[in-house]
Symmetry: C2
Subunit: 399 residues, 2 copies
């Protein structure tokens, strides 16, 4: 079902990182559901986490560990989110970290735990720890492909992307993997993303680069407006490559990795049949452009019309009108679908013909462009349609 | 598909009101799509309208007419919303009012127009005016049943409710009809409601009663979070009954009519298979209770789980956590499904068993009760699930 999304090429190895995976049978037997990333000593990390008030146990623990020590291992399981599990859930996450730390000979704080899957079920700690030796034995510089498979839940396609940047004193690599396909919206989705580089960067620089990239990528996508309890995006720098780093070039590379991963999540949106860019300009500030873009991207009426390839532009206007933009003048609003101007002056454009709109909506991907006609700001979000399949997937997810 | 919703008994006649309907063939031939309510001279009216920035032409005109004169006719068409139609749309609405005013011998400002249906299509004025003689000829005190049928769009069941109140100097009647089943959320839905009473009330009193009733009913429902361009709720008092009015008793009667109509809209929600009350208490103020209630009621993940009768309470917690309540302590949050306590202290209640939650979710209607554990405020909204049928209806609505 994914829209223009093929399985990625094997992600580039990152000097100083080994990746691996194992089958722990956490929810179903026989599939990869445990991923491990091992970071060279001296690696630095930055992360952003979900803002959901019910942040899962691993999120709470990863936050605390990251504040206490430089990480050596990222331990990720699929199949169980270990969320809304109270004190026993925190204990379970800690037990997994402790088991890995004991085997690997590092401090427990040097293990960052991540979980994704069903909320509210106890984490099967023993299954997870039993699989740790296999995951450790699987570690290899080119293990990213298996790791990106192991973190999938309702994803239909694994997600990875890597960029190599040529710099005066040698190449630099940025490689990322991600999972997520539903519960996707700004302020992080049910989304895990792990990105590594061999560049030598301070923790402060890493943090700034990551926040900038996330704002431009993962926080600009939405599938269904829901935000999970487990979202996390981690950026690790091993520093194995010791040369100087051009900050702008590094940011570009990181943005490219994050944007590709974020768009892959939408392309693989649950039940998605269309990949849609909602580009809003002419706003007084970026914030109101985002509000309009999300009002469109979150409207079930718009999303079902996109699924039906029905150029029902009235629903787009109604969504714009619902965004709560103070003093919006409908008569200055324009809407286009790719190259087709549909609405001008707040009403159907004179030269618009239904078959032109239809031609665009039959495409697997297109842009809904809105001009608010009241300023110079702009912003863009990426979304997908709402299909029968979305309902089926989410109605049947636990059954 | 409607949940526990039978066609209502014939609404009670209201002294001073005659109702009628006709087939104008606005969108499809052979169905009632034009409704007319005639009000006795001296009637007073109050109304609330959509806050959508793209308020439809009839909404703009009805607002202006209501401010200028006491209405004699409410002219309602289904099949075409006359929204996002620019200046020609306003002219079309005006032409319909003028045609009726000329035939009925009143001022154009004494006609309030209302439209519901597809957005962005030109209103077929001639079809509508051609049907006016038939609608006028159809007017009768007991014409409410045909009028409530004529205003339906995707509704599967007509919606009407009436209450007779015994007062010291004679009975008083409150009768209402409504339409709406999608695009339903607070601040008015794609929803039209027309309520009449024979009581003698000032315009100011009518307005206050109406706003109170709407806040307790139509602004507490949601189907899909979308708000239409055409919503309106009108309360008319003919004053034919001249006796004193007990304000509290009248408010109770009006609340009962509005709440029954509002709940009927959710019960008939597009594709609805469940009628769900979301009751939030323990908040610091009503506003935060409403935010939590709507976060649950708008979550596609919660709504698809309700459709599947899957007691996936983790999704309810995730929705609560997404409501953006500053300083919410997850460990004080409790959730019940009817009589079954599911979450206590922010995690699964010790005595909770899946089959107990299942038993509740198999019911056609039930209550999701949330206690935020941080105050004494409470609020309630009503919603429905998100089914395959919702997607089908909204994907096929124009095709």
């Amino acid at each position: 079902m994914a829209v223009n999304l093929a399985p990625p090429a094997a992600p580039l190895a990152v000097p100083g990182v080994r990746a691996g995976a194992a089958s722990a049978g956490i929810r179903r037997a026989g599939r990869l559901d445990l991923a491990l990333l091992e970071l060279a000593p001296g690696s630095r990390a930055a992360a952003v986490f979900t803002r959901n008030a019910f942040a899962a146990a691993p999120v709470q623990l990863a936050r605390a560990h990251l504040a206490a020590a430089a990480p050596r291992y990222l331990l990720i399981n699929a199949g169980n989110a270990n969320a809304a599990t109270g004190a026993p859930g925190l204990e379970a996450a800690r037990a997994c970290c402790a088991a890995l730390a004991a085997r690997a000979g590092c401090a427990i704080e040097q293990v960052l735990p991540f979980s994704t899957g069903v909320i509210g079920e106890p984490l099967p700690v023993e299954r997870l720890t039993t699989a740790l030796p296999a995951a450790l034995a699987d570690l290899a510089p080119d293990g990213w492909t298996r790791a990106m498979q192991a973190i999938m839940t309702t994803d239909t396609v694994p997600k990875g992307h890597a960029v190599r940047v040529r710099m005066p004193d040698g190449d630099l690599t940025v490689t990322g993997i991600a999972k997520g396909s539903g519960m996707i919206r700004p302020d992080m989705a049910t989304m895990l993303a792990f990105i590594a580089t061999d560049a030598a960067l301070s923790t402060g620089a890493l943090d700034a680069h990551l926040r900038t990239a996330v704002a431009r990528s993962f926080n600009r996508i939405t599938v269904d407006g829901d935000t999970s309890t487990n979202d996390a995006c981690v950026l690790v720098a091993t520093g194995v490559r010791s040369g100087a780093v051009d900050a702008a070039a590094f940011q570009d590379a990181l943005d490219a990795v994050c944007t590709t991963l974020a768009q892959a999540i939408v392309r693989d949106g649950e039940g998605a049949t269309r990949f849609v860019t909602v580009a809003v300009r002419g706003g007084r500030d970026g914030e109101e452009c985002r509000r309009v873009a999300y009002a469109i991207a979150h409207s079930p009426l718009v999303k079902t019309a996109l699924f039906a390839a029905d150029p029902n532009w009235g629903r787009i206007l109604a969504a714009i009108g619902n965004a709560g933009i103070e003093g919006l003048d409908p008569q200055r609003v324009a809407v286009s679908l790719d190259e087709v101007c549909v609405v001008a002056g707040g009403a159907r454009a004179e030269r618009y013909r239904e078959e032109d709109g239809q031609r665009v909506l039959d495409r697997p991907e297109y842009t809904i462009a809105v001009d608010l006609g009241r300023g110079a700001a702009a912003d863009t979000v990426w979304t997908c349609d709402l299909s029968h399949e979305y309902v089926r997937i989410n109605a049947e997810y636990r059954s």
